[in-house]
Amino acid sequence: MAKMQLREAINLTLHQEMERDPSVIVLGEDIVGGMGTAGGPEAIGGIWKTTAGLYEKFGAGRVIDTPISESAIIGAAAGAALAGKRPVAELMFADFVGVCLDQIWNQMAKFRYMFGGKSRCPAVIRIAYGAGRNAGPQHSQSVYGLMTAIPGLKVVIPSSPAEAKGLLTQAIRDDDPVLFFEPKALYATRGDVPEEEYVIPFGHARLVREGSDVTIVTCGQLVGTAATAADRLAQQGIGCDVIDLRTTSPLDEEAILDSVETTGRLVVLDENPPRCGLAADIAAMVGEKAFAALRAPVSMVTPPHTPVPFAVELERAYLPDAERVEAAVTQLLGYRGSAPR
């Protein structure tokens, strides 16, 4: 076990998987950095420092620094995967999905199905996502909700350094295309990480806090927000199950439904806009499959239906915080006077 930042956990995973399997290659903009400059290769090692040291160790054949060409990067990952490699492409910001969406949803997501099950596309796209760094409307979106809506993709959102390592290892070894959303606001967050190889299987949510009054379902950087809210509520004698989805596709419906059967109350905390998003999807699923268990309406805690604003005050107002989660929980407990069981 070692203390390391989330970015270091990603970097360690890439080193370990490239060491283990020669078919693993990485590609993306500035993942080496400094190519064609006086400062030379490895001038930066990725803008998030997640790919540092790979070029030196594995060479230009497997560590491919690309021009700014998102469609070509993702398309090349799709092609390399069809040709038997395990590419890990880096998309610098989740917002850039808009530039290369065809290669994601019309190409890699569909290969296995539309080719009659005879092809595999074991590509990973690592994507830095999320608000909280004042990066403005085109560098702050979450996007994993939109991607979850696409059949044929696996969507993963780690919430801590240890989670990132186990889930990324699974993503690289997976035979299907995986979008791996890294919460960029947590890149510098430190945590205990096992140094040896391990995988966290997809579709198995993690219970972060346990309590019998309200279920809070969330993922990624908002897991910390939910845990903070749950800890404060616990001091008032209110117990919350906090469920970290880990993957939104596949979705661990059972973990959500089991918890709601106990609590009868659900808060879905999501960083995507509210319409047609992950929160609405989970609310609908619970309404359909656990209606009898519900003792209050499902509460969706999300940003407003706006772009992500820039100014510190605006972004703070945009991104759901622990106070909003606490308020949602309290409101549910007060619904028609129903009290904790």
């Binding site: 070509a72 398309g75 099950g117 979705l251």
Partner: protein
């Protein structure tokens, strides 16, 4: 390059299979037995065959929405393709893909593709993989004069040059992107190859209606790319004997144009004339191939008509997450 008798007969057979496959589809589609959109490759056979006859199963190609010819030329099972176009559960893609998405990765055929311009980046990825393996294999991105206007194609060409990928950008200029003339839509006066040149690639141009010309060009191109010189581009001038899609009234064609291109630029007729005049093959040899191909196409249609249909349950196969 001197081709053996077997090579010439093999190439002619492949061109004839493509031609009759497409001509038969043209007839069958009008009967209403085949669902969906179909784009026929008749007229362009010398390109697909001239390229693919010099490739192995280890080389990759990616195709377009007009992909039947490339699939056949790269070795996809013709009967399986016909079953796929008829939507059978025993089609090459189990009826999940249809005309625009036929693929056989084991044969290095990474798929026909319904999105114009989507193929080139994928071909570069396959080329990056081939380069890493170091066995001199290549990847060919078939694109039309329509796809040459897509940004994805530009990105792919630049990336291929930057990483020196063994990728061949093969532009088939059939003078129409869907229903629009190349002189209008390709701003470089209809000249596609000059664009590839601008990206720093060595380019070749040739007559795509002449199998021997294509063969000659591709021999040079493949030698250049397999030797590790990075990507290359080829522009081949060819003709599309049918419309953009089946049912296209082709009002954009000039008077007599279709008759003229069939009379003057038929690659199968050109092949026949060339080899018989040079006494490389007898007319009877080709007639025999023609008869065998017609029989095979007839059988493939008959089989496809009676092949098992998919069931509603098949909608949920070949997925990795079910809700």
């Amino acid at each position: 390059m001197q081709l053996s008798r077997e090579q010439m007969l093999g190439a002619y057979r492949q061109m004839k299979v493509i031609r009759e496959f497409e001509e038969r589809l043209h007839v069958e589609i009008q009967k209403g037995e085949i669902a969906g959109f179909t784009h026929l490759y008749s007229g362009q056979e010398a390109v697909a065959v001239g390229v693919c006859e010099q490739l192995t199963d280890g080389d990759y190609i990616i195709s377009t929405h007009r992909g039947h010819g490339h699939c056949i030329a790269k070795g996809c099972d013709v009967k399986g393709m016909m079953r796929e176009i008829y939507g059978s559960a025993e089609g090459l893609c189990k009826g999940k893909g249809g005309s625009m998405h036929i693929a056989d990765v084991d044969k290095g055929m990474l798929g026909a593709n319904g999105i114009v311009g989507a193929g080139a980046p994928i071909a570069v990825g396959a080329a990056i993989s081939a380069k890493l393996d170091g066995q001199g294999r290549v990847s060919v991105a078939f694109s039309g004069d329509g796809a040459c206007n897509q940004g994805t194609t530009f990105e792919a060409m630049n990336l291929a040059v930057v990483v020196k990928a063994p990728c061949i950008f093969l532009f088939e200029n059939n003078h129409y992107s869907e229903h629009t003339g190349v002189d209008y839509a390709v701003a470089t006066s209809g000249d596609i190859a000059s664009r590839a040149e601008a990206f720093g690639m060595k380019v070749w141009r040739g007559n795509g209606s002449d199998f021997f010309a294509v063969t000659e060009v591709m021999r040079e191109v493949l030698e250049y790319v397999r030797a590790g010189n990075g990507p290359a581009a080829v522009e081949l001038d060819t003709e599309r004997f049918f419309g953009h899609f089946e049912g296209d009234p082709q009002r954009y064609r000039g008077p007599g144009e279709l008759d003229r291109i069939r009379a003057e630029r038929d690659c199968l007729e050109a092949f026949r004339t060339r080899v018989t005049e040079a006494k490389l093959l007898e007319g009877a040899d080709l007639d025999q191939v023609d008869a065998e191909v017609m029989q095979m196409i007839e059988a493939s249609v008959a089989e496809a008509r009676s092949a098992p249909r998919p069931t509603a349950a098949d909608v949920l196969t070949d997925v990795y997450i079910s809700y």
